[in-house]
């Protein structure tokens, strides 16, 4: 089976899955609620437009501009009617050209202004312009600085698109655009405020996330920590796999679209490979190379996987059984012994090494029941079927187990 077949198969499996059914009443309630909620949102938007119009009139009446006094020791804070926050350094010169819901437009003539922009809806726009640059945002924390005829943009959270001399550039959190160059975020004025706002925004967004494996650090960069291999190889060492940068950071540099070349290193280079490389070879069906490397490094589980890929089933099953404290290995051995080698008895023996309480419990019980049934051990099979139904009443094998348990 090649890669395309594999993808096709797992995709078809996903396509076949159906969501739980909604009753007619549930559906109607959802629809009624949706219409009511949409009407309320439309009303709120109308009120905000009126408030924004009033603010524009007010700001216009204040003289079209806003120049913070050089004598003010503290940064200047302001909030637009739309809820967006602005913080300006002492001496900054900026103008709110438009504060409508559809278009918020601020011109920065001099100094640094930090923006904390609420997420935009639909076709709303938020733009910041300097003499030579346009910055377009979708809901983010960033600062724009105009100093000595040069514009710099620092992004603390989210991303912005800017346009300069006819060229467009995306700048994401943790990066800055400095006079035409994209560099990692350097120190700048209002940095503390920017980081604080980004953290607040991120914490709010992450409030429902319970997975401790995903996190952020100051500056709003998102990362995924290394995937531990201990779950697969508890007794073996190996290099911890480091995830790729998220697409958000990749966007800050030119993304590499070239497909990865298949490694062509000779087998003697196996001594220098990593655990993740061997997994990659197995994934790309380079089983021979994977087998050599796995044996050199005594990575027994990978060795078994490679043998299985080479269809050396007897060796694969025996190798899986050498991996201790790994339910997946024992289960794989059982499946190979039964499905590939037709040996139900030794498959049962392999299953006996799987300790209860593993994530594979349901599958192990299901397979054990089938093996007992195949061996003609009807009574035992029925007992296991009853056990399955008690523990997994809605399990994938529940209907088959029910039929088996009902047989006399």
């Amino acid at each position: 089976m090649n890669d395309d077949d594999f993808i096709r198969r797992i995709s078809q499996n996903a396509r076949d899955a159906a969501p739980g059914l909604l009753s007619a009443d549930q559906g109607e309630n959802m629809i009624a609620h949706a219409i009511a909620a949409a009407q309320q949102q439309a009303q709120r938007r109308r009120h905000r437009r009126l408030a924004a119009l009033a603010a524009v009139v007010l700001l216009g009446g204040m003289g079209l501009g806003w120049g913070a006094s050089q004598h003010d020791p503290e940064p200047l804070h302001a909030q637009l009617p739309t809820g967006d926050q602005l913080t300006a350094t002492p001496g900054a010169d900026f103008r709110v050209a438009s504060a409508s819901v559809q278009l918020r437009h601020v011109e920065v003539r001099h100094g640094v202004v930090l923006f904390d922009v609420s997420p935009l809806e639909g076709e709303e726009r938020f733009e910041v312009t300097t003499a030579d640059t346009v910055v377009r945002v979708r809901g983010t924390v960033f600062s724009v600085e105009r100093e000595n005829g040069r514009t710099s943009v620092r992004v603390y959270e989210g991303r912005v698109e800017l346009e300069h001399e006819g060229h467009r550039q995306m700048v994401v959190a943790g990066w800055m655009w400095l006079g035409g160059n994209l560099v990692t975020l350097g120190e700048g004025r209002l940095e503390q405020a920017g980081i604080a706002a980004a953290l607040t925004r991120t914490q709010r967004a992450s409030a429902a996330v319970s997975d401790p494996a995903v996190g952020t650090h100051a500056g709003g960069l998102e990362f995924q920590p290394a995937e531990p291999i201990a779950a697969q190889q508890p007794s073996e060492g190996g290099e911890t796999e480091v995830s790729e940068a998220t697409e958000a950071t990749v966007l800050a540099v030119v993304p590499d679209d070239t497909p990865r070349a298949v490694p062509t290193a000779a087998p003697r280079a196996a001594a220098h490979v990593t655990h993740s490389q061997v997994r990659q070879w197995i994934a790309s069906r380079d089983y021979g190379r994977a087998l050599v490397a796995a044996r050199v490094h005594h990575w027994t589980l990978l060795e078994a996987d490679a043998l299985r890929g080479l269809r050396r089933f007897e060796e694969a099953a025996n190798t899986y059984l050498r991996v201790s404290n790994e339910p997946r290995a024992a289960y794989a051995a059982a499946r190979i012994r039964f499905f590939e080698l037709g040996d139900a008895a030794s498959a049962l023996t392999a299953l006996d090494t799987v300790r209860p309480g593993s994530p594979l419990d349901e599958r192990v019980l299901g397979l054990r029941t089938r093996l007992l049934f195949r061996q003609g051990r009807q009574h035992e099979a029925q007992q296991h079927a009853a056990d399955y139904l008690r523990r997994y009443p809605e399990g994938g094998l529940a209907d088959w187990m029910s039929e088996l348990a009902a047989q006399r």
């Binding site: 995709s11 076949d16 609620h33 949706a34 219409i35 994934a283 299985r308 994938g396 209907d399």
Partner: protein, 185 residues
Amino acid sequence: MNGDLVVNLVALRNGDRQELEFVLRELLPRVRRWLLRLLGPRSDLDDATQDALIALAGALPRFKGESKLTTFAHRIVLRTSYRYFRRRKREEKLTLVPAPPDTVDPEARVMGREALRQLYRCLERLPKKRRVAFVLCCIEGLSPAEAAELEGVSGVAMRSRLSHARAEVLRRVGHDFDLGRVGQS
């Protein structure tokens, strides 16, 4: 006429409630299916469905009929799903489409559920846009051009995302032989 679902555009634009209810009722099964494929088995699928319906109820009166209604709706559901990608919730029990019992290996059924969980665990680790590219092109079966139109990006960008997504899925679960057997009778 919009080509797929026959609706009265004039009535929709005039805020006709009955027409709006009719359209939402027709779209509801598709909305749930799209969300299941985008988000995977999750206990908050109903919440996501409700949010998507609210967004649709607000947007449908502005539908001009320039694209298919289902494409318009799919785009809105896609935007809704992005808000849910960061939220990890307890997995919901799934119902696989039932197959005739004499042609489906019972073991394969439980493997199918496990395969689905594994796939979505993998997809949750992908950057959102690559995840969406995989769902739209591999699971929904859209062409990269169709998926690009839904996402509002170029075909080149979509093909790049899809290529990276496929490579990542293969890297993470491609070596799982049991997954590879899923779907075999």
